[in-house]
Amino acid sequence: AQTVTQSQPEMSVQEAETVTLSCTYDTSESDYYLFWYKQPPSRQMILVIRQEAYKQQNATENRFSVNFQKAAKSFSLKISDSQLGDAAMYFCAYRGLTGANSKLTFGKGITLSVRP
């Protein structure tokens, strides 16, 4: 079974600085998808960024980028120029391609606070 590990329960960053959130996963599949979701205090789950495992190029979305290391099964999220609105809980998630259910496996999440 696939597992997703987020070992840091909390992190803090100064506004305008850069922060990196760590995530590792375990799978025997060769092709899959990885995601980072943001959950602000409203608790709405919002997709931040996604990465297809077959793509070597790291995904980027404005101030958000990932460092995808397939061999190491590592998928970290970098937030540049941190803003107060980035404060939230962040979840790393994995989805395999086998089977019809397209289930997501989530990590336990990390709470990010942004200091003004």
């Binding site: 998808y33 995601f35 409203s42 608790r43 709405q44 789950m45 919002i46 997709l47 996604r50 297809e52 979840f91 989805r95 019809a100 259910n101 397209s102 289930k103 997501l104 989530f106 990590g107 336990k108 999440g109």
Partner: protein, 112 residues
């Protein structure tokens, strides 16, 4: 674009009472649908998923059940709530174009 509606937004129920949470999806047809539960300060646990009307798969044994009476309607139920059923319940659908799961606003359930 797809929209997911969940109601109620919040619910407080006594132990032993029944439960019915509803999720409806707009802007897509024949979606894969999912129910997740999030305990306080924790990650999401998949409870049920459905690939079509009347097709329900359960991920974990529990006090809850799910039904899909219509293509874009997904219902989470219980005959008798337990204290451990408290949590935040999220409905999601698979957005094929982006191969991602798109979430509804959630229902906060407190069992007293």
């Amino acid at each position: 674009s797809q929209t997911i509606h969940q109601w109620p937004a919040t619910l407080v129920q006594p132990v032993g009472s029944p439960l019915s949470l509803e999720c409806t999806v707009e802007g897509t047809s024949n979606p894969n649908l999912y129910w997740y539960r999030q305990a306080a300060g924790r990650g999401l646990q998949l409870l049920f998923y459905s690939v079509g009307i009347g097709q329900i798969s359960s991920e974990v044994p529990q006090n809850l059940s799910a039904s899909r009476p219509q293509d874009r309607q997904f219902i989470l139920s219980s005959k008798k709530l337990l204290l451990s059923d408290s949590g935040f319940y999220l409905c999601a659908c698979l957005r094929d174009r982006w191969n991602e799961q798109f979430f509804g606003p959630g229902t906060r359930l407190t069992v007293l």
